[in-house]
Symmetry: C2
Subunit: 357 residues, 2 copies
C-alpha cells in the first residue's frame, strides 16, 4: 500500500488541519472531537446545516462547508461513522436559536449516532431535526444499512438546503425541503476496482480483471450483481435505466416529532421520473476515475435522459462523493421543481463547489 | 485494462462531445479537427487565449475554457500533441483583430506544432504570439523535451492571462505577462503508480511496490530519481525544497519577433524564491489520488513555505493537471506580484475553475 499519508491513525486530523490551512477564509478545524465549521457560524436567525459521515468520501462533507452550503461537517475515521458527541459538539458550535438540520446518509451507524446527537442537542436546548438520505436504488438492505443507502442526492440536498438556510427558511420548512429533495433523487454506482483503506492496507473487496460491480456502495458494499466488463455506453445504460425506471419506493423511517417530543415511525413513498420532468444530473467519479472518462459517461447519460423525455436543467460532472481511490462512477438524478432550481442557482462558496461568489 | 470508454479511438471526440453537452452555456465542441471553444468567441477588441496539448491531463485544457480564462483548447489524442492545422483552426475560430496568444507547454511536439500553427495563423492575417511554459524543476532535457517540461504553472498562466485578456490587454502586454508568470513559477511532481493509456492497455512504466518516482513527468517520463516509499511529510519536503531552493535557471527559447517578422532565439533567466515573497500555491492530484491525501500534502507544503518565509496569498488544492488515473501529486509555487494577484482574483467561469460568476 502506497499512500500520501504519515500514519493511518492521523489521516483524518491531518487532512482537516490541511483543509483549514488551505481555506482560512471559509472554515476552521476543531480537533478532538474532529469537525470543520464555518468561520462565521453561528449566524443569528439562520438554521445551521450539519452533516457528516465516515471519511474517505472527500470532498463530501468537509468540502461543502461554507456560505450557501454546510455550517459544519463531522468526519469520522475512514469509512466509520462520527460519534454522537462529535456531532453534538459541532452542532452546538454552529447553531443559533433557529436550530440545526442534520443531513444524514442512510448507514446504520450514521443514523444511530445522529439520532443520539439530536437527543443530546435537544437536551442542551438546541432544536434539531434529522433527515435521512436514502437514494441509492441498488439494493434494499445492505452490509451496513437497513433500506436503501445514501449517495449522490446528499450533495443536492446539502446545496439546496444550504441556500434555503441562507435565505432564512425555518427548521421545519428546511427539513420538509430536504425530504422532498431526497424523495425526488435517485443514484446508482459501479466499480471497476476496489479501494484500499489505510488501516487495512489491502483491497476492501476482490473484483476480477474482467468484472464490474454494478450497484456498488460507497464503502465497497456489494451491489446488485457482477457483470462482465463492457463498453462504457452499455454500462452507463444499465446504471441510468436502473434509476430512471426505478419503481415507487416506500420506506419506514424514524423521525423526530416536535409536537409529540419523541421519535416516531413514518411511512414515506418516494416518487419516480416521468417524461417531461426537469432534472439536475450528476456524473460523479469514485476517486480514481480519469475526468476524460466522466465526460464519456455524461455524454451517454444525457442521451438516455433525452430519450426518456427528461430535460437536464443543470448538471455536475466531477468528483464529489468518493471511495478513496476507487475507480468507478455514480450517477444521480434529481427531479427538480422551481424552488429547487432557484436554490440550486443561489451563490455558494465552499472548497469543492463554488459559483456566484 | 478496465476503463469507462467505448473504444480507444473515440475517447477524445466522445469526451469533448460530452463536455459540450454538459456545459452548453460555456463552450462548443468542434470535431475533426477537435477543439473546444467559447460560445461567445471571437470577442472584438480582446486577445484570444488558445492552449492545447495531449489529452489525458484533464481538466487541462478543455476544463479551463470559458469567461476569464481560455478562448479555445485543442486536445490531441492521449499524450499526443495537437496538430498544426487543428491549432490553427481553433485560433481562427476564436480570434478577433486583436490576435491570439498561444500558451504552450514545453514538450517538443507541442512546441513545434504551435510554432507551425503560429505561422499558418500569420499567413492568414491573424497576429499570434507563443509563450512556452517550462516550470518543472525535475530534469533539464527529458524523453520528449529540450529544457524543462511544462507543468502546473500552465494553470496559473491561463488564469492570470485570461483575466488580462478579459480586461483588454493587448497581445504584446499579454505575452509579457505570460512570460513573467512562467519565470516566477516552479513545479515538481511524484508518482506512486503508473497510468495506463487506452491505446497501450498496460502501465506506461514500471514502479515497484516500495518505489516512488520523484520528479515524474505528466506522461510518465522519468524523474530525477527513484526513492523508497516514505511518510508523506518526507516526500513532500523533498518535492517542496526542490522548487523553493531551485537555483536561477537560464534557457534559450525561440520567440516570434514581430519587428523582424521571424522566429529568433532569446535567452531568458528565471528568478527564484526568497523569504518575504508572496506566492500562489497549488497541490495537484495526478488523477487517482484521494482528495484526503491532497490536504495532508498541503498541510506539510504550507508549513515548509512558512518556514522558508514564503507567504501563501492564494492556493488551489485539487485535480487540475493529471496523467489519467496515475496516483501521485505535483506542487507548484508562483511568486506573485500585485498585478498577478489582482488578475488571479478576477471572476472566472469554466468547467474546472470558477469563482465570482
Amino acid at each position: 500500500m502506497k499512500k500520501l499519508i504519515n500514519s493511518s491513525e492521523n489521516v483524518v486530523c491531518e487532512a482537516i488541519a490541511g483543509m483549514a490551512t488551505a481555506h482560512p477564509h471559509l472554515l476552521r478545524a476543531h480537533l478532538d472531537p474532529n469537525y470543520l465549521w464555518r468561520i462565521d457560524a453561528p449566524k443569528p436567525g439562520r438554521v445551521a446545516l450539519v452533516s457528516g459521515g465516515g471519511s474517505g468520501h472527500e470532498p463530501m462533507h468537509g468540502g461543502f462547508v461554507g456560505p450557501g452550503m454546510l455550517s459544519a461537517a463531522c468526519p469520522g475515521e475512514i469509512f466509520t461513522s462520527p460519534t454522537p458527541d462529535q456531532i453534538f459538539e459541532a452542532t452546538r458550535a454552529v447553531s443559533s436559536e433557529a436550530g440545526a438540520l442534520h443531513i444524514v446518509k442512510n448507514y446504520a451507524g450514521d443514523v444511530m449516532n445522529f439520532e443520539m446527537a439530536g437527543d443530546l442537542a435537544r437536551m442542551a436546548g438546541i432544536r434539531t431535526l434529522n433527515v435521512v438520505i436514502d437514494d441509492d436504488v441498488a439494493v434494499k438492505d445492505s452490509l451496513y444499512t437497513q433500506g436503501r443507502r445514501g449517495m449522490g442526492t446528499t450533495i443536492f440536498a446539502e446545496k439546496i438546503c444550504g441556500a434555503g438556510a441562507a435565505r432564512g427558511y425555518d427548521l421545519k420548512r428546511l427539513a420538509d425541503l430536504c425530504r422532498r429533495v431526497n424523495s425526488n433523487g435517485r443514484s446508482a454506482g459501479l466499480a471497476l476496482t476496489s479501494c484500499v483503506t489505510p488501516a487495512k492496507g489491502t483491497p476492501t473487496f476482490d473484483l476480477g480483471p474482467e468484472d464490474v460491480e454494478m450497484g456498488i456502495g460507497i464503502h465497497g458494499e456489494p451491489g446488485r450483481r457482477r457483470v462482465p466488463f463492457a463498453p462504457a455506453d452499455e454500462l452507463v445504460e444499465m446504471l441510468a435505466l436502473s434509476i430512471i425506471e426505478d419503481p415507487p419506493y416506500s420506506r419506514r423511517l424514524r423521525e423526530w416529532d416536535e409536537r409529540l417530543d419523541t421519535w416516531t415511525d413514518v411511512e414515506i413513498t418516494n416518487a419516480v421520473f416521468a417524461a417531461g420532468d426537469r432534472v439536475i444530473a450528476m456524473v460523479n467519479g469514485m476517486g480514481g476515475t480519469p475526468i476524460i472518462e466522466l465526460y464519456i459517461v455524461y455524454r451517454q447519460f444525457a442521451m438516455l435522459c433525452e430519450r426518456k423525455g427528461l430535460s437536464i436543467a443543470r448538471c455536475l460532472v466531477g468528483t464529489y462523493i468518493t471511495s478513496l481511490e476507487m475507480q468507478g462512477v455514480s450517477i444521480t438524478l434529481l427531479r427538480a421543481d422551481d424552488e429547487m432550481l432557484e436554490l440550486w442557482d443561489a451563490p455558494v462558496c465552499t472548497p469543492a463547489l463554488r459559483w456566484g461568489m
